[in-house]
């Protein structure tokens, strides 16, 4: 990513200039752009290219010496997105994988629609604006409609940008090259074939590299509906290509936002309002250690010549805060949540079949309450941003999940034109939803504007923990009735704060065949900020639904896995459970004396079933020995990277189940750093066994779907081991801890 800024901005300039021209010569290479809907470009609106700007899908840069660069319009935050997308493109292009490299797309309008995920799907709860609809390719739209507000990452990049964009961009580029060769050689195009970045005309025994035809190929307009390969012919997709971003991640050379060095820059540390809504009304610097102090209202920033100096100085400041709700505590938040659970006036019925309300009046009905806490993202890299504001222009260096929003929010805050704000997107030291927000970015830009010099703003871990957009805490009431060994009715009511997930993803669905269902949410606005957290609403709903079906199975005296199968007709769900039964040795744990728990959740078009194998040592110490995952994500693009995403989702969820809870006292977040918001480490991470079912379906998401089943698989196993049903997380609330 080291040269991204220079080369990418050149491409962008050419893209703007060459309306509907698909290519331009760039620094010795040729950029091939694929316009998805060239006849519908003149549509105006926020975040949409206007006037003569080209809406592009994907860029391919090809040099005369046959080096191929795929420009990736998604942020790299651990998921290996660039490699996966490049595999999809190179496959259709018939490129030689050894010639492929990747580059981060610039955050400007030329690339907005290229990646619906970036501009709209990733948006912070944004709905797809209706004016965008006609611009979208039809099939893309069908899926995109369902994904508004979902975070970036494996969950959208592969199944949207990759499946609908990159494949076509690669295939169209190949056709352009073949056409150029056919013209030059005076032969029919269908007699030219492409293989490993080489064009062949077998009859005349001629061949030439892709690169030698790059300039000629760029003169053709890309075909919007190029012929795509059959998955049976794939050579690159479906193979474990080493990730292209990893070499620089083992040498320390990878540049994260935190690592940016801008000549002449200052360092800044921040103290944000400890109580939500408070403002700094006076600031004194008793030691005079601060070079400069900037009062942003809801935060005070100290600027110095090193971060160490700035962070010491900010701690010494005497700040008077006024306003905000200093009375807020976790106890009164819980009371508020319980009140909203009882309050049905604004209830929204999300799903209804049969007449659950009537059926559940039976005295045999089960009624239980679940609760899950607020959770912080706690990315390894604390929030930071480097900004420079000179001559009504702003440059930002940051690892961000949504650089377009970062640009727009900064432009708005500083009163600049969007086109005068440049975002240099770096690697993200973890995102998980947190880095789709722009609070840190706008702060850095405002400080840079104020002091007239470039500045790197770094949040301490304590600031990061206390100023998050937390996963919403939810309380939930589930009711169910088992008759003749089957669930005849169920209902679910829960409180709801919008964390950015579109209803069309149906996170609330009870994914079992039950004749009488009623699912209703009680909307309220969380008094503390909430946002998307890996797998968004599916984490809470997965825990509620998969715990409850387990409770009903035990009520019916049935085996939990067989009971699930008995209530599922979806063939893919059934296949996952059946495979899981074998792979996990269901009923016969591989660890002597262990107990098993099962859970299965379908999210982001991917089905993940998991079995946890636990022992309980003493009365309260949980040892999770093994966690088996069976995954149907359709076509697997890169098996190695796919497995890593499941490993990752599982550990992320486990940290939350064991330790995760954000609480408030006196209006302030109590947790400060890793000791009191602890994480799973090597010693308490389980052996993981991951199996993929290649169901032949189009790719589903993979960055998030491994997370939702983890908590219920674990708590269901703890129930099997101890008879204690855990209805509230984290485990510490039920008196359990990790070994």
């Amino acid at each position: 990513m080291s040269n991204e800024t220079k080369s990418s901005s050149n491409i962008a300039t050419i893209a703007r200039r060459t309306f509907l021209v698909s290519a331009g010569v760039v620094g010795g290479g040729v950029a091939l752009g694929l316009a998805l809907s060239p006849n519908r470009l003149k549509i105006y609106g926020n975040n949409v290219a206007s006037g003569d700007e080209v809406i592009l899908n994907t860029w391919v840069k090809l040099t005369p010496d046959n080096q191929l660069t795929v420009i990736v319009p998604h942020s790299e935050m651990g998921q290996g997105v660039g490699t996966g997308l490049a595999q999809m493109l190179a496959e259709e292009m018939e490129a030689d994988w050894d010639t492929v490299s990747i580059e981060q797309a610039p955050a400007n309008n030329d690339y907005i629609n290229s990646d619906l995920g970036r501009g709209y799907i990733v948006g912070e709860g944004a709905k797809i604006p209706s004016f965008v609809y006609p611009m979208l390719d039809f099939t893309f739209l069908q899926i995109a409609k369902g994904l508004v507000g979902q975070l970036t990452g494996g969950s959208t990049a592969i199944r949207l940008t990759g499946y609908h964009g990159m494949r076509r961009a690669g295939a169209a580029a190949r056709e352009m090259l073949m056409r150029a060769a056919a013209k030059e050689w005076g032969v029919p195009m269908n007699s030219v074939r492409a293989e490993a970045s080489t064009l062949y005309h077998d009859a005349s025994n001629r061949s030439a590299s892709f690169g030698s035809f790059a300039v000629a190929a760029a003169k053709f307009t890309p075909n919007l509906k190029p012929a795509l390969k059959s998955p049976g012919d794939y050579k690159i997709v479906g193979t474990a290509k080493p990730r292209l971003d990893l070499p620089e991640k083992v040498t320390g050379e990878a540049q994260f936002g935190m690592d940016v060095i801008v000549p002449g820059m200052k360092y800044a540390a921040i103290a944000q309002a400890p109580v939500y809504g408070a403002q700094a009304v006076s600031v004194n610097d008793p030691d005079g250690a601060a070079e400069q102090i900037v009062n942003l209202g809801d935060a005070v920033v100290v600027v110095a010549d090193s971060y160490w100096t700035a962070s010491n100085a900010v701690r010494q400041l005497d700040i008077t805060w006024e306003g905000g709700d200093a009375g807020m505590t976790s106890e009164n938040l819980r009371t508020l949540h319980n009140e909203h659970l009882q309050e049905t006036r604004h209830e929204e019925v999300m799903d209804k079949e049969g007449d659950a309300s009537n059926a559940l009046q039976s005295s045999a009905a089960v009624s239980v309450e679940y609760a899950v806490p607020y959770l912080a993202h706690a990315t390894m890299e604390p929030m930071n941003c480097t900004a420079s504001v000179q001559d009504r222009k702003c440059e930002l260096w940051v690892g961000h999940q949504n650089p377009i929003t970062a640009r727009d929010d900064t432009a708005k805050a500083l009163g600049l034109k969007k086109s005068n704000v440049t975002v240099h997107n770096a690697y993200l030291g973890g995102g998980f939803g947190r880095r789709a927000r722009t609070d840190n970015v706008v702060q850095a830009a405002r400080v840079a504007a104020e002091i007239g010099a470039p500045v790197k703003l770094v949040w301490s871990r304590e600031q990061d923990m206390a100023n998050d957009f937390y996963r919403p805490a939810i309380v939930s009431r589930m009711r169910g009735l088992v008759e003749d060994g089957k669930v005849s009715a169920m209902s679910h009511s829960y409180i709801y704060s919008d964390a950015g997930m579109p209803d069309s993803e149906r996170p609330f669905a009870f994914q079992y065949d039950v004749p009488n269902k009623r699912i209703a949410r009680h909307p309220y606005t969380s008094p503390i900020p909430v946002g998307s957290w890996r797998s968004v609403d599916f984490t809470q709903m997965g825990f509620f639904n998969e715990s409850f079906i387990d409770e009903l199975a035990h009520k019916a005296g049935a085996d939990p896995l067989e009971f699930r199968l008995a209530h599922k007709s979806d063939v893919r769900h059934r296949a996952v459970l059946e495979r899981l039964r074998n792979e996990a040795n269901w009923g016969n744990p591989q660890t002597p004396g262990a107990s098993q728990g099962v859970a299965i959740v379908d999210s982001f078009e991917t089905i993940v079933g998991q079995v946890a194998e636990v022992t309980v040592e003493g009365d309260d110490r949980i040892r999770l020995h093994r966690l088996t995952s069976v995954v149907d994500c359709g076509q697997v693009i890169n098996p190695n990277a796919a497995e890593a995403q499941i490993h990752s989702s599982v550990i992320f969820a486990l940290s939350a189940v064991f330790f995760g809870e954000i609480t408030l006292e006196n209006g302030e977040v109590v947790q400060q750093n890793f000791p009191d918001y602890d994480m799973v480490r090597l010693r308490n991470s389980p052996l993981q066994d991951v199996h993929f079912i290649n169901s032949g379906h189009a790719p589903g998401g993979l960055g998030e779907p491994g997370t939702p089943p983890v908590a219920p698989a674990l708590t269901n196993a703890i129930f099997a081991a101890t008879g204690t049903r855990i209805r509230e997380l984290p485990l510490a609330r039920a008196g359990f801890r990790s070994v």
Binding site: Q79, F256, G430
Partner: protein
């Protein structure tokens, strides 16, 4: 004050406040940004480097304390330009990093473990490597350490 020490094999002097943690001296004064800031209280291990061969968390280590010491960072792990250490090679072979932010510290901790214990058991690894990785690379970290241990023994 001026502090002198050996950094990745080369004599180095730096002018810094004596209580400034080595982490910030490395990152800001010497512009070696491979060593990361994660927590500031030595809880996560992202800032791990070797001081006289011992894996040390540098976010709380005053630079004055390393006067005369031998310091090795992730930038100094490679045995020769363009080459990788056995640990780095195993890390690539097993595709360990995800976001990569904690991995410099993870690798430094692993190098120090293998220097001390050429054939660690799973328990040895679990006890020695207490670094936090939010991407959950732990399983591959364990596998890669075993692979690196084998490669170092066979070298």
């Amino acid at each position: 004050m001026t502090i002198s020490f050996t950094l990745n094999g080369e004599a180095t002097s730096v002018d810094a406040p004596p209580d400034m943690p080595l982490l910030w001296v490395l990152r800001e004064k010497l512009e070696l940004t491979g060593t990361k800031f994660g927590c500031g209280i030595a809880a996560c291990g992202a800032c791990t480097v070797h001081i006289n061969g011992v894996a040390t968390r540098t976010c709380v280590m005053p630079v004055a304390a390393i006067e005369g010491a031998d310091v090795k960072t992730i930038e100094g792990v490679s045995p020769a330009p363009g080459e990788m250490s056995a640990v780095q090679s195993a890390w690539l072979e097993h595709q360990v990093p995800q976001c990569g932010y904690c991995q410099s510290g993870m690798i430094m901790a692993a190098e120090a473990l293998l220097d001390e214990n050429p054939d660690p058991s799973d328990d040895d690894i679990d006890n020695a490597i207490t670094n936090i990785c939010r991407c959950g690379t732990y399983e591959r970290v364990r596998t890669a350490i075993h692979a690196a241990a084998r490669a170092r023994r066979e070298a």
